[in-house]
């Protein structure tokens, strides 16, 4: 399982990660080796085996729908890199 450089760049784009050319090359090698190792799972016949997403017995968690105090606006904004008018300020999302 050898990843191409284009595949690495595509994954980085999906993951919203800016990588240097050196990182792209390193991850190309390392991820290829790890995926090759992981390929042994495909030798197993798992026909009819249900996937495990959680080890807990299936259960629903419900709560009463009541108003409770949460974080104040100030507390929620305290770690923000940039704030304007009690909101998180970000650069343009659309051109």
């Amino acid at each position: 399982m050898k990843l191409t450089l284009e595949e690495v760049q595509h994954i980085a784009e999906l993951a919203r990660l800016e990588l240097t050319p050196e990182e792209e090359e390193l991850y190309q090698q390392q991820l290829s080796a790890i995926l090759e190792y992981a390929a042994r799972l495909q030798q197993l016949d798992t026909t009819g085996i249900a996937p495990t997403a959680s080890v807990l017995p299936p259960h629903s968690v419900l709560r009463v729908d009541e108003v409770k105090p949460g974080l104040t606006t100030d507390a929620a904004l305290r770690n923000a890199p940039q704030v304007e008018q009690s909101q998180f300020r970000v650069p343009p999302v659309l051109e």
């Binding site: 990843l3 595949e7 690495v8 994954i11 980085a12 999906l14 993951a15 919203r16 990660l17 800016e18 990588l19 990182e23 390193l26 991850y27 390392q30 991820l31 080796a33 790890i34 995926l35 190792y37 992981a38 042994r40 799972l41 495909q42 197993l44 798992t46 085996i49 249900a50 996937p51 495990t52 997403a53 959680s54 080890v55 807990l56 968690v61 709560r63 974080l71 507390a75 929620a76 305290r78 770690n79 923000a80 890199p81 940039q82 998180f88 970000v90 650069p91 343009p92 999302v93």
Partner: protein, 492 residues
């Protein structure tokens, strides 16, 4: 009496109640020990000495009032006990970095349930301990703030990711600490540092306020120097919490430990799949000797099989990174954490994450993103989840035959800092014996059973069925009644 900073949890709590010692003296002794050793060990990322001294004074006032009969309410069980907290658990108002540059200045606005329960039980928090970045690693070398050093040999790693907590307990900076375990991150450093560490059953301890890594695997655990001490912490952090939907409403037993080490009637399973080629001979010998000692105390020993063990590593390194890639999407420079400005928001996300995350975190995000991406989901993530079912069934089957399973914690003792350099797969192999419990959700307890020829601790792991932590404590406690490995102190 030993030095104050060398007291066990049980000894410290008893001496505080009787008035023999004060929390302030105990806390000062721990802070002084940290002052002296921290330049060499580097167990902490943030120290909270002022907070600790204030909490200790308050504890002493409450203890004094109680002794004078002015306060008749029951004393909190750990009142005045110094404790260290892994820096992936939120404590309101105290920086929480997760060992990452991306959270270098993050101050959580709330406290994790496990930490809140410990505070309510009266603990004194001396600081936040070092960790591999976002708990991803087996050595603390992935911390953005430099590695922690193993107190038994400073050139070696303490294990990881909760290496700071394990090293702090081993070097007698604190009697106890909390950590987290997603694939072995409490048990493996406990083993490497010669202390006792528990990963509870998944769902036993609330994950609220634990910074998420692999949400179906993450567990909050505890370190101390004996099973009895870990049990005291376990009783406090365990239990249902409505703020974590995966927290189970299962009664937490009062762990009953007696000085009588008899283990008659307890069945211990030994799986052949955990005694494989490549395991360090002293590790295998130490663990087999410990199993023989448990047998001598009356337990019966049976061979069991966990046939899918060899697949746990690839399953884990698809599922955990997949969950991590989703969980770490939140670090985008918008609401908290680092921001690397750019003219467009998409570029800002990429730059922020490219600059803020270290190499191992990026590697796992990339791996997880790939395993979840269109065209590969079924072959990688989907198949891994199915094999996870087979691994879980292995344990269900084994626990119809035995009460606990005994294995090594890791194939080797603590390796040298830098030894695994740029070979992530070699590093991942350190987790081969600890990953299966997280995949199956069962509890695991690690404790010291000897030393190798270089003086580095050897650890044994006991695993139990879901919510059966008590049997693990009973077995380890019995072992610790007849051995003294857990009382050895590294020379520093």
């Amino acid at each position: 009496m030993p030095e104050l900073n060398e007291l066990s949890v049980r000894q410290a709590v008893d001496a505080l109640r009787s008035g023999e010692i004060s929390s302030l003296d105990l806390t000062r002794a721990c802070l002084a020990r940290i002052d002296r050793l921290e330049p060499e060990v580097h167990a902490f990322l943030t120290r909270t000495s002022d907070l600790a001294l204030r909490q200790a004074e308050a504890a002493d006032r409450q203890l004094a009032a109680h002794r004078a009969g002015r306060d008749e309410s029951p004393l909190p069980p750990l009142l005045g006990l110094p404790l260290a907290v892994k820096d992936v658990l939120a404590l309101e108002g105290v920086r929480c970095t997760c060992g990452s540059k991306i959270l270098e200045n993050f101050i959580p606005p709330y406290t994790a349930t496990s930490v809140e329960r410990l505070l309510k039980a009266g603990v004194v928090v001396v600081g936040k301990t070092n960790t591999d970045e976002f708990a991803m690693g087996s050595s603390t070398e992935n911390s953005a703030y430099g590695p922690t050093h193993n107190p038994w040999n400073l050139d070696h790693v303490p294990g990881g990711s909760s290496g700071g907590s394990a090293a702090a307990v081993a070097s007698r900076m604190v009697p106890a600490a909390v950590g987290s375990d997603t694939g072995g991150s409490v048990r493996q450093p406990a083993s490497y540092c010669g202390v006792t560490g528990l990963k509870p059953t998944y769902g036993r301890v609330s994950r609220y306020g634990l910074v998420a890594y692999g949400s179906s695997l993450d567990a909050v655990g505890a370190f101390a120097r004996s099973a009895e001490d870990v049990a005291l912490l376990f009783e406090i952090i365990a239990g249902h919490d409505r703020r974590d939907a995966t927290s189970m409403d299962v009664a937490v037993p009062k762990i009953q430990l007696t000085p009588d080490p008899s283990l008659a009637g307890i069945r211990i399973g030994v799986p052949k799949e955990y005694f494989i080629a490549g395991i360090q001979p002293e590790v295998e010998a130490g663990v087999r000797r410990a199993i023989a000692q448990l047998e001598a105390l009356g337990a019966s020993v049976h061979e069991v099989s966990l046939p899918y063990t060899e697949y746990a590593l690839p399953v884990y390194y698809l599922i955990a990174p997949a969950e991590a890639s989703a969980n770490l999407a939140r670090y985008d420079g918008v609401r908290f954490g680092l921001r690397e400005p750019a003219a467009q928001i998409l570029d800002q996300y990429k730059r922020t994450r490219g600059a803020g995350f270290g190499p191992e975190v990026k590697r796992r995000i990339m791996l997880g993103t790939y395993a979840l991406s269109a065209g590969y989901y079924d072959a990688y993530y989907g198949q891994a989840q199915k094999v996870r079912t087979l691994i879980k069934r292995d344990f269900e089957q084994a626990f119809t035959q035995v009460d606990a399973i005994a294995t090594p914690v890791a194939p080797t003792t603590a390796f040298r800092i830098g030894e695994h350099g740029d070979d992530p797969l070699a590093m991942y192999l350190e987790d081969v014996f600890t990953l299966p419990t997280n995949l199956a959700g069962v509890p695991g307890l690690a404790f010291p059973v000897g030393f190798d020829e270089h003086g580095l601790p050897v650890g044994m792991q006991l695993m139990g069925a879901h919510f059966h932590e008590e049997i693990l404590f009973r077995l380890a406690h019995a072992y610790q009644q007849v051995t003294d490995w857990h009382q050895r102190i590294p020379i520093l």
